[in-house]
Amino acid sequence: MKSLLIRLYTLSVLTVRELLRQNVLYLILIPALLTLLTLPLFANLTFEEQIKFMRDFCFGTMSVFGIFLAIIATAQSVANDIEQKTILTVLAKPMGRWEYLMGKGLGIGFVTFLALLILGLLSAGLFFLQEPKLFESAAANATQPLTPQDWQELHHQLWNPALLIAMGILYLKLLLVIGFTLLLSTVASSSLFTIFTSLMIYMIGHLQSTAREWATSVDSVSIGVKWAIRIAAVLLPDMSFYEGADRILLGTGASWMLWIQPLSYTLLNLAWMLGLATWLLESRDFR
């Protein structure tokens, strides 16, 4: 067990070090940071609208750049190993192919977490800087002087701890994206194909639940189409499991339980994806 953990740790550290040296990480992170820094420019809104805008802006930046980072970093990592044949020297060692995949996944997951942390801290910094202006605007628009309770309520709206749950849910979503990108990269011949297909899966994943329901509940749909959708739905991830984050951002519902469903869904998906990726990697002939 100890040597297994050492192997996983060694592979993930190797992956992290390689990723931190890649330009793609900074090509994604720097625009993300710059995007966040433009936030204070959009200040001519009511308190409620500003809160919404700030949350959407910060979270949207984390989400979009996080997805790109997860997909591109994963696609390039395995593709590089195969192209440079590093994978052969690694897999020639007495270790399982699932350990190689898991080490890669852990390393990429860690770098993604770091990126989210950096963006999250910057967002918090921007919230902190904007706070006085927001409260000024709230006081100016109020019909009567604000009580200490009102101030507390405003403060809570801005610094809602539920936002951490939203970030957690976003991270789980990114882990899922890393999972299916890793799965694809075990069979793909080029990183470009992996990137493109992963983006497609990500987008189609948003339609999965609706398509499934439509196939089940609408009678006019042919049997062939129904079964095609059901079969596709088995393999495609259902991104609606991560919509809890949107609910938190919109203030339409926040509960610590909101993370339990996406967590279990992510773990189940990662398990079958890792299993299948291992099976495919073991079946793959390295020429």
Binding site: I6, T86, V90, A92, P94, M95, G96
Partner: protein
Amino acid sequence: MNDSLPLQMRNVQARYVLNWRRKSVLALDHLDLELKRGEIFALLGPNGSGKTTTFKLILGFLKPQQGTILIQGESAGTRKAREKVGYLPENPYFPKYLSGREVLETYGKLSGVSSDLLRRRIEIILEIAQMGAFAEKPLHTYSKGMIQRVSLGQALVHDPQLLLLDEPTTGLDPQGVDAMKEAMLRLRGMGKTILFTSHLMEQVETLADRAAILYQGKKLVEGSMKDLLGKTEGATIRVKGLSSEQLNGVKLALKDFGATSVEVSPAAGTLENLFRRYTE
């Protein structure tokens, strides 16, 4: 099958599938190969003869369509089998920001070697591979020969019985070749079994105990160097001090004596010897 033998390949056939219509090409055709403990075995052949395919089969990177491959009794490709094999690939690549020592540490950890043992082993490997002078420097400062030594080091780090070296001297200068040969001989002295590939016949002559020649996936011949070289028909006559006219005369005279084939070529190894003389 003898479980103590480092490598046993029986009736191994391998194919590469080319496209979705499952058209395939035969990479190895019923190969039988058996290595003895502590010997250096050379697998020779031109490009595309099946040498690298053989290595990949032993390492489990390819599945044979037929036949068995055992490494000290373990089926090729299993974790136990990989514990007994060290692999030096052709054109090895390692992360350039790592130092030589860090490469050995990394691959040692991946092989499951405990940290104390790994530390001691790395010192020995640095000595065998003559890496002591540059072990702490990053790989991007290394020459091809130095990287090759690092590659040999990572193949040894988990103390395997069998070493697979794929074209270990390709791209090396004569000093690098000598260093690699010396390392291989030392390893044989330590009881390791080495299977290496090469298409440079002259380098193999002085190194290998036994050899086999592959051609288009088939083993044409196998045996000890003595037997293989002894099988060569004809004789070599070395001549110095004759002009080209006189050499032609010698050629005609030999034909008059009944020789069916006479080859006259400049003395081999002159440039290599000249290079060594000026650089050592």
